[in-house]
Assembly symmetry: C2
Homo-oligomer: 332 residues x 2
């Protein structure tokens, strides 16, 4: 049986292009004991995947040339040789970019689509939701009345961070790259203020104006000059959660910027890098809390869903030009 998969054809030099990917037809092997045959439903594209396109040691191994890209996905079981999975089950896990696949069930989780739509398990009830949850609650430890600034605020993680910070009683300011996104943050997701970094002439001043009591928590998804502007407004005993550095992922060398340490020192600031894998043992705690907030209507959510398997590379590339509001998903 022939299926389609998308492989890494070449490593990008800066921003990825469609030429770095190729669609191939291959034959599926036979189903073995302990395996399931899956049909893809939804595929997640995420900023961290850019790092895996480089041939560099990081917290996840690099994609291999001529091997399929893989990422978070939701799929339906169409045939099973594992008694714990039956035809019709909906599962999530790290899957190859293929319209169908045969895979060992280790690492697959069945999901409950009566709680939320299947695609939510790639977003608010998946890695982005858990990233927002633990990065804010466990690292930044928000207190009622504090001021929280989120960069990449209209992204999959950012919109959830802002809403959780509101649940905790914080003053929440989002930084994003278009007036449409700013309107969405304020009108749909309850952010108190929004700053369009592309049109704001003096970003540090705009942050000062939006944060009259200074910045107690900075949830950083982007890095670079946006972060420089936030750090200028950082309060004593502030916490900076380093979650993403999307502004730097496509650079070929480590860029220079103002040294942060004197400011972090004199203001007793904590800066903590993390990846969601550090919290694996606490995922069920996070999903439980997030599900509850979704049920209670305290967390709303938005997805940018692009249809068509062949659009996966384009969707991933689009993350770096800010094409998405909320979670970027490809529907097969």
């Amino acid at each position: 049986m022939q299926i389609k998969q998308i492989v890494l054809k070449s490593r990008p030099n800066g921003v990825p292009t469609e030429a770095n990917f190729a669609i191939e037809e291959i034959s599926l092997s036979n189903l073995q004991a302990g395996e399931v045959h899956l049909k893809g439903l939804y595929y997640s594209v995420d900023p961290y995947m850019r790092g895996r396109m480089n041939d560099a040691k990081s917290y996840t191994p690099p994609f291999q040339i001529n091997q399929p890209i893989s990422g978070g996905a939701v799929a339906e079981v169409i045939e099973s040789k594992d008694e714990n999975f039956k035809k019709g089950d909906i599962v999530t896990g790290m899957l190859p970019w293929a319209n169908e696949t045969i895979i060992n069930t280790k690492g697959l989780q069945k999901i409950d689509v009566t709680i939320a739509p299947a695609s939510y398990y790639l977003g608010i009830l998946g890695m982005p939701g858990l990233t927002a949850y633990f990065g804010l609650i466990d690292i930044a430890k928000p207190q009622s009345g504090e001021t929280v600034v989120v960069s990449g605020a209209a992204g999959a993680v950012g919109i959830i961070v802002g809403q959780i910070a509101k649940i905790y009683g914080c003053h929440v300011v989002g930084i994003a790259g278009s007036d449409e996104k700013i309107a969405l943050l304020k009108d749909k997701f309850g952010f108190d203020q929004g700053i369009n970094y592309k049109t704001e002439k003096n970003l540090a001043q705009a942050i000062a104006d939006s944060c009259p009591k200074g910045v107690d928590i900075y949830f950083d998804n982007v890095g670079g000059e946006i972060s420089d502007a936030v750090v200028k407004n950082i309060n004593f005993h502030a916490r900076i959660t380093l979650c993403g550095q999307i502004s730097l992922y496509n650079l070929k060398e480590i860029p220079v910027g103002p040294r942060l340490q004197p400011m972090l020192l004199t203001r007793s600031v904590l800066m903590q890098g993390f990846i969601i894998g550090n919290y694996q043992k606490r995922f069920s705690e996070g999903i439980k809390e997030l599900s509850q907030w979704v049920k209670e209507g305290k967390l709303t959510y938005t997805e940018t869903i692009i249809e068509g398997f062949e659009n996966l590379p384009k969707a991933l590339i689009g993350l770096f030009s800010g094409d998405n509001s909320g979670k970027m998903i490809v529907k097969l």
Copy 2:
């Protein structure tokens, strides 16, 4: 009665010079209730004092022009109008740079010179010792078998950090600026390795060679390019204690350097700035533990003692050219 005091004559432009200070004779006021008349014994000069010479908001207010410099000091009570202090008591506190002074007793602590020499209360049993203790134990949380790198290792804080890390069973590497200091670190203070950053051509490689298992804890007293070289060798889940940035204190603008956040993020590193004032409520815990280690001979200590009140400015300036080994003290 005429006494001598040293005032800030002008704010330094870069490295301080003796011209920024002036010695004056003034009259002492009369002793009031709740005050003591003190004769200075030992005065501490510390890198953080450079910050107070600028007219900039920080965690301690700036020194005022034509007003005396003040800092940690040990003094003897020669007259008292507070029943809790009597003639002959030895006290420590923040005192003006004056050979004698009349001061309110609030903020003075009596010290026990049977445990350790009086000057130790400006060093191993004072701010530098407490800074080393809480910065290492509370922020970096050393585990036996981990690798600890200390910059400014031969300074007042550095020599104590290295010895406490050895008590905790760590592999300890010190970075300092002369072969004499490196020899002292290894021979007197039990550091496993020392690196002379002034003669080492490839500092990052030297650190890699001295830390075959990478760097788990970096206790940073200096900042700048030395820190860049350490961060290149930082391990997953490492902790960086930001204690000082002496290499940057005399610069007029915030210098640029490689952006750290991508490395801190992908390796889940914690960076925490702190000042010792944050731990005020736990000082007695720290002094108790440090005293015990001194008594047991587990902590040794060295001071550079310069004699003569008029040498206070020179001693402070000398910190920035690395004139000291261990704690720099002026004896009156």
